[in-house]
Each structure stands twice: as C-alpha cells, then as structure tokens.
C-alpha cells in the first residue's frame, strides 16, 4: 500500500524552498564523482538537468531516441517563457506569478511547488541570457517582454516565434559542453523500454538500440525521467510524431503512481484537420488572438465565402459571451466555445470543422505592414499548410491537444513514488493543476532541470555513498532485458495481421477524442471504457509489423508505443470518469454553471488523484493527496 507524502517543507510559503535547500542532505564535491545518474530525454528538462548535474560533478548518462539531443519537442514551442522579473514596472512579482498560476490551473495544483516555480523563474531568465539565448531586445539593449495568454502583466520573454528552439539550443549546448568534458555520456537513437527496480528502488533502465535492435541494460544510483507528455494518445495533436508515454508508463507498471491523467490542454488556435491522411496538427501561436477576431456565420447553411458574409450575419461568439475578455479568454474557455459552435453545425471550411480567425479589422486599423511585422512568420506557415492567404481570407482554426498537465506523481523533491526515480517537466504532474497558462511549460521544464533537481537529488544520494550501482548481471536486470526483448520480438514473429500500427493508433485517437476530449460525460466515458479494451485486444492480435527486429524498424518502435498508449488511454478515461466535476481542461458536462461554464466541486475533488498499478488484469487503485490552499482563495473563474 503506497502512502502519499508530498514532503512539503515547513515554514511560510516564501521560506519553504530556502528552508528545504538548507535542510536537504548534501553530497560533498569530491564525492559527487562517485555517483552515477541516468537521465532519459533531452528536452528542456532533461538536457538542463543532465548538464547541471554534470557541472556539479555527477557522472551522467543521457538517453534520447532522436539522432541528436537538439531535436526534442521542446524545440517547437513558439510563444515564450514567463519570468517574474518585473522589468516592465507593471506590478509583477513572484507572488503574482504564483497566484496567477494557481488560479489559472483552476486550483488543482500544489501551492508550495508553484511558489517555488515562480521563485526560480527569475534565475532561469538570467541563466539563459548568460548562455547566449538571443532573447528579443529593446533599442536600449535591454530585454523585451510581452503580455501572453491573457496575463495582466508583461512577464513573457521571447525569441521571435522560436522561444522553445532557442531555450533548447541553450540547454543542448550546455549538454554538449558537458559531453566534451567527459562528465556526460550520450546515448542517441536509444529507446528506453523499461525501468528496473529492486527492493522497491529504481536501479536502472532497459534500452533498445534503434540502429541494431540490441536490447541492453544500464544501471545507476538514480534514474531521472524527462520524457514529456501523453498528448499523442489522441493520435492527432500538436506533439511531435514520436512523442510517447512509454517510459512513464513502464515506470507506472513498476510502481510509480500516475496523477491526474484526465487533465489535457486543448489549445484553441490550431489548423483544422483536412482529412484522414492528416498526421498531426499544427499550432498557431496564441498571440494571434491579440489581433484576430473569432467568428462563424450565424446561418448554419452558409455557403458563401467569408468575405461575402455581412457583418450582422456573423456570430462573434467570444466577444458576445465574454464582453470584458472577448477573444482573449483562457485556452480552455476559447476551445470549448469553438467546439460548441462547430457542434451546432456552424463550422467553416470544406469539412465544416473550424472557426474563422479574422484579421481584416486589424489590417484596416493598423495596415497590412504592421500585421506582417507582428505575425509574418505565422501567416507564412499557415499559407504553406493550407494554401490560403490569411491577409485576404480569414484563417480557419480549431482546438487541438497540446499539453498534458497530468503525469507521474512526484513529491516536492520531484521524486516519484519509486525511491530513486525522478520525473521532470511535462512528464510530472506538479505545477499546472488542471490547466496550464501560456509560456509556463518552458519555465517549468527549465526550473525542474536547472534549479530544482540538482538540489533535491543529493538528499537521496548522500546516504548511498560507498554503494556501487546494481550490476547489470543481477537477475533484476537480466530478467527485464529478456522481457523487453521478447515483447519486442513478438510483434514481428506474428504472421498475417490486418492493419498497420498507424491504423490502430488512429482508431484509438478517435475514441479518446470523442469521449475524453474537450467535453466528457458519464455515458461517453463508460462507452470508451468498453471500446478501448476491445480495440487493444484486436490490436494485439491483428497488428501487422513487417521487417526484422534486428535493425532499424520504425514500425516496431511505434508498435511498442501504441501498445502502451492503449493501456494508458484506459486509465485516462477512468480518471476522467471518477472526477465528477469540471476543472480547467477537464470539462464534465454534468458539472457546469447555468451559463455553461466549468463548475468545480471543491468539497469533494480538491485533491490530486494518483493511480497505482495492480497488474495487467486488475484496475488501478486511486490514492488521494488533498490539496490545501493557505494563500490563494478558491473562487469561480469568471471572464465575463
């Protein structure tokens, strides 16, 4: 029986992190070289953690399934990174960033973690600037900021529309420096397919070399997972094609609890799907909502092009419903309203699956040149994908899965319920509650990697001084290696088969999107709970995987991942079914205000729902970590 202890330090919220840093055990500099740490994933969280641990003197092995650490999906983040610098003199502070994040997360995050995140946000900006991240500057040479995602202060730092790319290159370069110095060993094209535990503690990982197909083990004193989120359970999402839940799910099967898997952020401004061949969805930066007006035709049977629809025949649904925030309502509200009008049959485009985002007013007001300067690269990207010119025809947008707030349960030290196993960045659940604010994902990934884990990992390692990592010849390792090898080979040894893995992934995505997407209800979720296991059965029996397991085989890589998504999806749906309230990105139709807004139930659901694996044939057990709010007052969010 797992006991959840979040290990939140004593003291006032301002002092908790400082107190904790003083109280954790230290490993002295000369002894750090006696410890080995495995880091899985080289996105913002993984690369920053690996580089920082190596600088401290630890020996680090870092694993990525990409050809180069620089390709992790953090690279695709566009908008920016929050930092409570108050450089704009507009009333920002650590406390305000903390408050906004807890409120924006619809009161489902841990106060102490969020406060620490806001505290270290200022150090992240300093760190990145020192590494040479080319942040946008004012003419005086000082850093520029913008307001982002409806925030009332300008605290977002950015590097054109490529902030994620530049922050990741900063972390990747720090990692390259550490590789050069010999403190980090990089294993690229390495798929981590299992976590090895012994006596309840994490001892290492099992890896498949994607070039040779060889399966082997690596051991260490601690294992850090920085493997991103589970958005691709929907098949179509803004995630990269290879983003997956496998390492986290395999950790779950070895005892790590998964928290709040029903929380998913659906981003309102993405390019709508065009057809069955669609492989992914592309995000258009949220900043577009600063100048674009969102509308659909009032007439459901409207067949004319956008320009021919007169002003009074247009339904500016966000402006009408939310006069004070208008088109700038938070992501979850904007997404749900777009779904409502499309479900009513008012959608636009050939498949009637989008809403207009119209820049005509901004172009008339500020001129085409001004709009081009602000959004030129985004307009160009849109034009490439759709073949339409947004300067003259309104963009078509629709919500898409973007970010996952749930993940592996971690305590204040970022350690999972398995001692010695840590989870960082999007892979953990800790800071965003039920909804993430814009420009906060990059902040959290780097906070965990640069400024939290390097302090907290010592507390676990210090007492282990003198212990050598478990030999990879130990039965715990050899058995895990054999299991992974068998599991991988079974797919190609099967004969016959009906469909490729892509087909089954797409079918799974349809179920999860339909019943556990932007709006959920009991009937639908129950339906998903019967359809997912049936699909999984069929998939395991009939999936067709060609080629050899001994070498590069991209189908084989994917089939293991989809297999894990099939199990994960069921837990996600079960979590959504049990949480009979609406909060943030989780909207239960049974729980809404008279005006159709998300209605929380703080009395019964102000907790973290963390699920424990009980084996493949039994449902998981729910554990609850109650959330206490000492500083932020719980209110109903209103954007009217």
């Amino acid at each position: 029986m797992v006991m959840l202890d979040a290990k939140i330090p004593e003291g006032s919220i301002e002092d908790k992190w400082d107190n904790h840093k003083f109280n954790v055990k230290l490993v002295n500099p000369a002894n750090k070289r006696k410890f080995e740490v495995i880091v899985v994933g080289t996105g913002l969280a993984g690369a920053s953690a690996a580089a920082s641990l190596a600088e401290l003197g630890y020996n680090v092995k870092v694993f990525t399934f990409h050809d180069s650490p620089r390709r992790a999906h953090s690279i695709a983040a566009q908008g920016g990174i929050n930092g409570a610098k108050n450089y704009r003199n507009d009333g920002d502070s650590i406390y305000r960033l903390f408050y906004d994040t807890v409120k924006g997360g619809d009161y489902r995050a841990r106060e102490a973690n969020v406060y620490r995140l806001a505290q270290v946000s200022v150090d992240i900006i300093d760190q990145c600037a020192a590494q040479g991240v080319p942040f946008a500057r004012e003419y005086g040479g000082l850093l520029a900021n913008r307001s982002f995602g409806g925030a009332q202060v300008s605290r977002t730092f950015y590097a054109r529309g490529q902030t994620g790319q530049q922050l990741l290159l900063g972390a990747y370069q720090a990692l390259a420096n550490a590789i050069q110095s010999g403190k980090v060993t990089l294993y690229n094209r390495s798929d981590v397919l299992d976590i090895v535990t012994k006596d309840g503690e994490a001892k290492g990982i099992v890896v498949r070399d994607m070039l040779t197909g060889q399966v082997h083990a690596h051991s260490a004193h601690a294992v850090v997972l920085a493997t991103g989120g589970y958005g691709n359970v929907y098949y179509l999402s803004t995630n990269a094609m290879a983003s997956n839940v496998t390492a986290a799910w395999r950790a779950h099967r070895k005892g790590a609890l998964v928290a709040n898997p029903c929380y998913t952020q659906i981003h309102p401004t993405c390019i709508p799907a065009s057809d069955e061949f669609q492989s992914k969805l592309t995000l258009m930066s949220e900043s577009l909502r600063n100048d674009g007006r969102i509308w659909v035709p009032r007439d459901r049977d409207e067949a004319r092009s956008a320009g021919e629809v007169a002003e009074d025949e247009r339904y500016y649904f966000l402006e009408e419903k939310y006069p004070s925030f208008g088109n700038l309502v938070p992501r979850d509200v904007a997404s749900r309203n777009a779904k409502t009008v499309v479900d009513e049959g008012r959608g636009v485009g050939p498949l009637k699956n989008g809403v207009y985002l119209d820049f005509a007013a901004a172009i008339a007001r500020d001129g085409e040149q001004a709009v081009r300067e602000r959004y030129g690269n985004l307009f160009q990207m849109y034009e490439r994908i759709t073949g339409e010119d947004p300067y003259h025809t309104p963009m078509r947008i629709y919500p898409a899965t973007h970010y996952t707030m749930g993940g592996l349960w971690v305590d204040y030290n970022l350690m999972t319920s398995v001692p010695g196993l840590y989870a960082l960045g999007e892979a953990n659940f800790s800071d965003h509650g039920a909804n993430r604010l814009g420009a906060s994902a990059l902040m959290q990934g780097l906070a965990d990697g640069y400024f939290v884990l390097p302090y907290t990992i010592g507390d676990y390692l210090a007492p282990k001084l003198g212990e050598t990592p478990l030999s990879t010849g130990d039965p715990a390792f050899t058995q895990a290696v054999a299991e992974v090898d068998d599991r991988t080979r079974q797919w190609t040894s099967k004969k016959g088969g009906t469909h490729g893995v892509e087909y089954y992934h797409r079918e799974l995505g349809k179920i999860v999107w339909e019943y556990c997407g932007m709006a959920r209800n009991e009937n639908g979720l129950e339906k998903a709970l019967s359809e997912i296991p049936a699909l999984r059965e069929e998939f395991r029996k009939n999936v067709k995987v060609l080629g050899s397991p001994d070498g590069i085989n991209t189908m084989l890589e994917k089939v293991n991942r989809v297999d894990d998504f099939m199990e994960f999806a069921e837990l996600k749906v079960r979590d959504a079914l049990h949480r009979n309230e609406s909060c943030g990105g989780h909207f239960r139709e049974e729980s809404q205000t008279e005006e159709g807004e998300a209605l929380r139930d703080d009395e019964n659901f102000a907790y973290v729902g963390a699920w424990e694996w009980n084996g493949p044939d039994e449902a998981q057990t729910l554990h609850k970590e109650d959330l206490e709010f000492e500083y932020v007052k719980l209110t109903q969010r209103s954007y009217k």
């Binding site: 050809d67 390709r71 999906h73 600037a129 020192a130 080319p134 500057r137 720090a174 057809d275 492989s279």
Partner: protein, 257 residues
C-alpha cells in the same frame, strides 16, 4: 474540395549502411493535394504495408519545420522546390498531376545512409561539442539585464541561431561542405558579448572539427539557396575572418603563458 494527384515516384531503398541500394518505383495514385510531402509518403507506406512490403524509412518528427529531423532530396533539390521550406512543410499542391518525383537521401560521405532515406548526422553534434557553447555553469549568471545587447546585434545573432541543423546545406553543396551550419553557430555566439571570452578558442576548434568531417567551401552558395531557414551566406565570411584572427589570437595566448 481539393484535387487528387497521380504521381510516379522513384524512392531510394537501401537496407543498411553497406548494402547495395536501388530505386523502388511506385505509382502513387489519388494523393490529396492538401497532404504534406511526408503525409504523401505515409499514404504510400500504408499501401506498401497492405501489400506486405516493408515501408520506406525516413527521418521525421515535429512536422512543423523546426526540429530538423526530416529532409530528403526531391528531384535533386534538398527539401524540394519551394524556397525556405522543410520537407515536412512542403505540400503536394506544389506538384502537378502526372509528375515524376525522384526521392533520395542526403548524399554526403559525412552523413552515412542508415536505411532508405534516413542518414546519420552526428558529425554536426561533434562540431557543437568542440566549442559551440558559452560556458555558463548553472547558477553563475548575473542579472539578465546587466549585459545590454544592442537590438541589431541580438537580431543578427538570432538570424544565425535560427538554423535547425537539418543538413540541407551539406546535401546541396557539390563539395559536401559544412560551412553554413558551422558559421551559423559561430555567428550566433561570437556576436554576443557573452560569447567573447571563448570566441577564438571556439572558432578554431569548431572550424577544425568541421574540416575533419566535411569538404571545403568554394563559394557556390547552394547551401544558402537550399536552407529552409534562409541562413545567410554572409556568416561564412564572418567565420573565415574570425578563423584567421583566431590563429593569431590563440597563438598570442600561448606566448603569454
């Protein structure tokens, strides 16, 4: 509704780095013109799987033009015919019904073919490891606004930092030279005040590591033409200047020791 295209594809297939390769000819019918080039390959692969033929292996990940994983030669052009566009962002509406399309991997000795259209670009990582960073151990940074950087400097640094490391520059170059990639990283770091302390050491080490792997630059300019992020040829000139200087600067450092 959009049109569909019928295409004749010639796709390079090669089982491994040392295997003999050959072209697979495929009649790709009914390809939606709204599909991206990689989605077209997805459709072809699903049909191959239905016929029990192993699908074509190609590198790809983000499919929004930023990760730098994808990239193939399309009718002899790196990333295909559209300017400033990665393979994943190229869409089939740029082709005509009945077109023949030849699809090959990057061709450069420093990028060995792993399988079909997938190549090994680790040589780029070696160049960055040689010095493509500013040493700023975590926690040592001063306040970010203590180092003002003129906007023009930050902008030109960002222009260079936009490189996605896809390798199209090498693939397009008749000499398989790595100058555009290397100079972009050097320009990103060498123009910034934070990059000055390691400037000469960095330049010498990166250029010489580059030369271990790649051919020589003879100013063809094909690299900048092919670059999906429009990285400028000017950066190569800056790199050459800094490299010459580095030889003097680094020597004088030795004499002072």
């Amino acid at each position: 509704m959009s049109k569909n295209l019928n295409l004749k594809l010639k796709i390079w297939r090669q089982a491994g780095p040392h295997a003999q390769g050959s072209f697979l000819e495929v009649d790709a019918h009914d390809i939606p013109e709204d599909a991206s080039f990689l989605e077209m390959l997805d459709v072809v692969n699903e049909r191959l799987i239905a016929d029990d033929v192993e699908p074509v292996t190609f590198g790809h990940d983000c499919r929004e033009g930023i990760c730098g994983t994808c990239g193939v030669m399309i009718n002899g052009q790196a990333h295909g015919p559209e300017k400033a566009t990665t393979t994943c962002q190229l869409h089939m509406r740029k082709f005509n019904d009945g077109d023949e399309i030849v699809i090959e991997p990057w061709q450069a000795t420093s990028f060995p073919i792993l399988k079909d259209l997938m190549v090994d670009r680790r040589a780029f990582d070696r160049i960055v490891e040689a010095g493509g960073y500013i040493s700023a151990p975590t926690g040592t940074a001063p306040d970010a606004n203590e180092i003002p950087i003129p906007k023009e400097v930050a902008d030109t640094s960002m222009d260079a930092a936009a490189c996605i490391g896809c390798g199209a520059c090498v693939a397009a170059c008749p000499n398989s030279a790595g100058q555009l990639f290397t100079s972009a990283k050097l320009h990103h770091l060498n123009t910034l005040p934070q990059g000055q302390p390691e400037r000469w050491k960095r330049t010498e080490a990166m250029v010489e590591t580059m030369e271990d792997f790649f051919g020589s630059c003879t100013n063809h300019g094909e690299c900048a033409e092919a670059c999906p992020k429009e990285v400028s040829l000017d950066f190569i000139a800056f790199m050459n200047r800094d490299y010459v200087k580095s030889k003097v600067k680094n020597r004088s450092l030795v004499s002072k020791r």
